[in-house]
Amino acid sequence: MKVVELRDVVKKFGSFKALDGINLSIERGESLALLGPNGAGKTTVVKLISGLLKPTKGDVRVFDRIPWKNYEVRRLMGVVSHNTFLYDDLTAYENLQFYCRLYDTDESVIDEILELFGLKNRKHDLVRNFSRGMKQRLSIARAILHDPPLLILDEPTAGLDVEGRRDLIGYIAEICKEKTIIFTTHNVREAEELCDKFAIICNGKLVYFGDVKGDLERVYLRVVGYESG
C-alpha cells in the first residue's frame, strides 16, 4: 500500500519554481532519505506531504488522502523539523500533554515516552532550560506521542554537535523500526544509517531515486555536482 504519493508535483513561490515535476511514492514500512543541497526543495516536499503547503500543480496523497484538505490524515503522521514546535514556557510534560490533547491521545503514554528519550527526570523543567539536543529529543517524543504510522523527519539533527547527532540518530533508529519514514538530510552517512531508499533532489528536480547503499556518497556527489553544473 502506498503511504505517500507525489504525482507531477510543481510548487511555485511567486515566479520561483521550488519543485518541478516531482514523482515519488513510498510504500508502507519503507524508509526514504531525501537528500540534496541547501535550497534543493527537500523541505518543500516535506511541507507538501505534511499538509503545510498546497501544490501549485500535481497531486499529493498521504494514505490516499489530500493532506492539506484533510485534517484527520494528520493523525497518521508525526513531523519532526529543525523547529521543535515546543513552547519554551511550558514544561516537557505540559508540552506533551498539550499535543496529546490535540491528537486525542491517552496522556498515560507521556511518562513512558519521556523515559524512552531519557527525559523523565526533567519532565517538570521548563523547555527554555533544555539544551538543543534535549529539545530535539523532546520534539521527536512529541511527534510519536500518537503512534503515527508515518514519521517525517526534516533535518532533525540540524544544529546539533557530533555527540548530539549520534545520540539522536540512535533514538530515531530505535523508534523507526515499524514505521514508514521520510528523512531529509544533507548527511549521506546518516541517510545510509537510517534508510533503505534514497531520493536526491537538486534545483527542485528529482535527480536520483534508488536503493544503492555503501556507494551513496559517490552517487550523491556525482548527481548533485552534475546538476549544479
Binding site: 485534517y71 493523525r75 521543535t84 514546535f85 513552547y87 514556557d89 499535543y99 490535540l102 491528537y103
Partner: protein, 217 residues
C-alpha cells in the same frame, strides 16, 4: 474542545511569563493617568467614553495580536498547522484566550478609570455590558486579522492599520452605548448595543469562513 485546549495552553504560558498582560496593564494605567492629569475634570467627564475606549483600543491592538505573533516568534504555529485541528478551532482558541485577557483588563482598568475621573455612572451594569460587548467585538476582529499580518516584517504596524477601519462601527457604537449608560438612558442604549452584537456576529462568521485560507499556505 480543541479550542479550549489551545486557550488553556496560551493562558498557562501568559500567567507564567506575564509578558503580554503586564504590558497591557502598564500601558492602560499610564494612558489613564496621563489623561486624568492633562485633561480638566469638567471636560473629561464629557469625553470620558471616548477616552476609555481609546485606552482599550491601544491596549487591545498591543495585546490581542500577540496571541498569534507569539506562535510565530516561538516557531510553534506550524506545530498547530500540522496537528489534526480545524483552523476555526485555532481561531476560537485564540479568541477565548484574548477574551480572558480582556476580562482581566476590564476588571482592573474600569474601576481605576471611573475613580480617576470621578465619573457618575447612572447604570454601572449597562456600562460594564457596553464596554464588554464592545471589547468582545474588538477581540474577534483583532484575533482574526492578526493571522493575516504574522508573516509580515511590519506586522506590529500593519495590524492597527488593518484593524481600525474594520473595527470603526464597534468603536462608535461602544462610545455611544457607554455615554447612554452613564446617563442611564435605557431606551437609547439598545440600538448601539444591537449594532455591536450584530457586527460582532457577522465578523465572527466571516472570520470562521475565511480563516482557513489565511491559516494555510
Amino acid at each position: 474542545m480543541k479550542a479550549v485546549e489551545i486557550a488553556r495552553k496560551d493562558l498557562k504560558i501568559e500567567f507564567r511569563a506575564k509578558g503580554t498582560l503586564n504590558l497591557m496593564i502598564l500601558f492602560a494605567l499610564m494612558t489613564s493617568m496621563m489623561f486624568s492629569v492633562s485633561i480638566p475634570l469638567s471636560l473629561a467627564k464629557k469625553i470620558a467614553p471616548s477616552l476609555l475606549w481609546l485606552v482599550f483600543l491601544f491596549v487591545g491592538v498591543l495585546g490581542y495580536g500577540r496571541a498569534f505573533l507569539r506562535e510565530v516568534e516561538l516557531e510553534t504555529l506550524e506545530g498547530l498547522k500540522i496537528s489534526p485541528v480545524a483552523p476555526t478551532s485555532v481561531l476560537i482558541g485564540k479568541i477565548l484566550y484574548n477574551l480572558v485577557l480582556m476580562i482581566l483588563m476590564e476588571a482592573i482598568i474600569l474601576p481605576i478609570f471611573i475613580g480617576l475621573f470621578n465619573l457618575d455612572v447612572a447604570n454601572p451594569i449597562l456600562m460594564v455590558l457596553s464596554v464588554t460587548l464592545g471589547n468582545v467585538g474588538f477581540v474577534i476582529v483583532v484575533s482574526s486579522l492578526s493571522i493575516l499580518v504574522v508573516k509580515s516584517k511590519m506586522r506590529e504596524m500593519l495590524l492597527p492599520v488593518l484593524t481600525f477601519p474594520v473595527v470603526f462601527p464597534i468603536i462608535t457604537s461602544t462610545i455611544l452605548a457607554i455615554r447612554k449608560s452613564m446617563g442611564g438612558d435605557l431606551e437609547g442604549i439598545l440600538s448601539p448595543l444591537a449594532l455591536i452584537v450584530g457586527f460582532s456576529i457577522i465578523m465572527f462568521v466571516v472570520a470562521c469562513l475565511t480563516f482557513e485560507y489565511a491559516f494555510t499556505d
